[in-house]
């Protein structure tokens, strides 16, 4: 039942993208988002498309898998598309019907916004698909660790994230089990009025909550008995070392940024919308 929900969908594979340092990947992602917003016209998505395609091919994540990450977004996409299509009033008018006016500017903007959204999602999914959640939080911790001097709790935040991520599947599994147990005791979860349904959740939520506290307690005990005392003086099992690939990745990202900045300077007419 609940177990079909997949979260933090990591796709295990051996590729140069998977091997990149998570810090570099996170920084590249930030740059990528900036770049996507730099694209001010449809033509400017061409180099971006080339880059994303190359990255997906290199990552060995099947295209079908990538497209699946767009699926939950389809209604937002449709909504944004229609909203921009009908509410933008610029350029020449093509069609006018009652209060609805279709303009060239509207069509252009609708496509533009949708494509921008697709690019954002594709890029970020590529990050989560090729990096395990643990590596990701580890990367975040390291990126923010210089801020420790101003008492920013980088390690604690990363630890909280790691533990939360770790327990998502466990909690789902537990919820599934408790639901089954109460159903077989005659609980009716999916029938009746709203009030009845909410009431029917109590026998599921209470054991789940009790279980989480028990787990938290056990985990705290297990961590303490292995001398966990927070971030100070703690060494890492995984030593992150930058490799040649990370350098190349940085270089590519910077060149892409440069292209996106320079392109509209060389061809000024590309930057403006029709």
């Amino acid at each position: 039942m609940l177990k079909d929900i997949t979260l933090g969908q990591y796709y295990p594979a051996e590729s140069c993208i998977h091997r990149l340092d998570p810090r570099i990947k996170l920084l590249a992602m930030t740059l990528y988002i900036v770049i996507v917003f730099l694209a001010q016209s449809l033509y400017m998505f061409i180099p971006l498309a080339a880059f994303v395609t190359a990255a997906i091919l290199l990552s060995k994540v099947p295209i079908s898998y990538m497209l699946k990450s767009l699926k939950p977004l389809k209604w937002i996409l449709v909504f944004m598309f229609l909203l921009n299509l009908f509410l933008t009033k610029s350029g020449t008018e093509i069609l006018s019907f009652w209060i609805i006016k279709l303009t060239t500017g509207g069509i252009y903007k609708a496509f533009f916004i949708s494509i921008r959204l697709v690019f954002l999602v594709l890029g970020t999914s590529l990050l989560t698909l090729t990096t395990t959640p643990i590596l990701l939080t580890d990367g975040i911790e390291r990126i923010f660790s210089p801020l420790k001097v101003i008492k920013f709790p980088a390690h604690e935040l990363a630890m909280i994230m790691t533990i939360a991520l770790r327990f998502v599947p466990t909690l789902l599994e537990e919820a599934d089990k408790i639901m089954k147990a109460q159903i077989s005791r005659g609980a009716q979860i999916d029938t009746g009025s709203v009030f009845k349904r909410v009431k029917a959740m109590i026998p599921i939520l209470i054991p789940l909550l009790v279980g989480s506290f028990r787990r938290a307690d056990e985990l705290a005990m297990a961590m303490e008995s292995r001398c966990y005392h927070g971030g100070e003086g703690r060494t890492k099992m995984r030593v992150m070392k930058l490799t040649l690939g990370d350098g190349i990745c940085t270089l590519i990202m910077i060149s892409l940024l440069a292209i996106m900045i320079i392109l509209p300077q060389i061809f000024p007419m590309l930057a403006i919308m029709p």
């Binding site: 089990k177 408790i178 159903i183 077989s184 005791r185 005659g186 609980a187 009716q188 026998p203 009790v210």
Partner: protein
């Protein structure tokens, strides 16, 4: 009667991770049996028994409980009333403020109230060995692990199911606790005529109580029959299972030339038999 007809269950069907937890399983359990399912970790035992209550549906095949097809929504509801299901670590499902209220939950869901409900709850508590006056008003969260398990068990027994399905009811209990749960189940079977289907992975627990045993291995039934038949014909070691200690004892006695004909004696009976022979010799 519970019938499994060519049941296959695939988890995460239609995905890259699809995986047959059980495949093409057929067997029957008749009324009044004490049927045990045994197998290694991951052999599909829990998956198998959840079909009996329609909690998971077969990918292929059919499960019939007294003729009710558990994959039809209408029949499922009637079928579910006949089956009581006790999960692995059932104590994790307790939720009410008091032991009494928790046991009442299932009974109330059957639409039973008043005196009959009270009678069922108290007799279920007595059956599992919980003193009614002492435990009724306690919070289930203040009990020990073994007591919690008894409460959970009482919650199902009070529903008076015709078939009682249990997933490793003895896991994590001490030998005394195991023994008392086991004799409780035996009592339910012999005195109240409840059909018991129990999953276990210890042979020693079930060899002397089971009327029939099914051995599950990699999602298939490797052997099925009375304990005697199963132990005679089946290569248990290959499936990661051990013979019950009593049978190991009889076999090693046999290797040393002491023949005990009845394979199914328990340890005490073997000791008596040896003593008898010694005194006669």
């Amino acid at each position: 009667m519970i019938e499994f007809l060519n049941v296959t269950h695939t988890y995460m069907n239609n995905s890259e991770l699809a995986h047959n937890a059980i495949s093409d399983i057929s067997f029957n359990v008749s009324e009044g049996e004490f049927f045990c399912i045994i197998g290694q970790t991951g052999s599909g035992k829990s998956t198998l028994i959840q079909h009996i209550n329609g909690l998971i549906m077969p990918t292929c095949g059919k499960v019939l409980v007294d003729g009710f097809d558990m994959s039809q929504k209408k029949q499922l509801i009637s079928g579910r009333r006949l089956v009581g299901m006790v999960f692995q670590y059932p104590e994790h499902q307790l939720f009410a403020e008091t032991v009494y209220k928790d046991i009442e939950f299932g009974v109330a869901n059957l639409g039973i109230t008043g005196d009959e409900a009270h009678e069922r709850i108290t007799s279920a508590m007595e059956a599992v060995g919980l003193c009614v006056s002492e435990f009724s008003e306690k919070s289930p969260f203040d009990l020990s692990g073994g007591e919690k398990r008894r409460v959970a068990l009482a919650g199902i027994i009070a529903m008076r199911p015709k078939y009682l399905v249990l997933d490793e009811p003895m896991a994590g209990l001490d030998p005394m606790g195991r023994q008392s749960i086991l004799s409780l189940l035996q009592q339910l079977q012999s005195e109240l005529g409840i059909t018991i289907i129990m999953v276990s992975h210890s042979m020693d627990d079930i060899v002397h109580v089971a009327t029939r045993i099914a051995i599950l291995s990699r999602g298939k039934i490797a052997a099925i029959g009375t304990p005697g038949e199963v132990f005679k014909n089946c290569e248990l070691n290959a499936m990661g299972l051990k013979l019950p200690q009593s049978i190991q004892l009889i076999r090693s006695l046999r290797e040393r030339g002491i023949e005990i004909e009845n394979d199914m004696l328990d340890e005490d009976a073997i000791a008596d038999e040896l003593l008898r022979r010694y005194l006669h010799a």
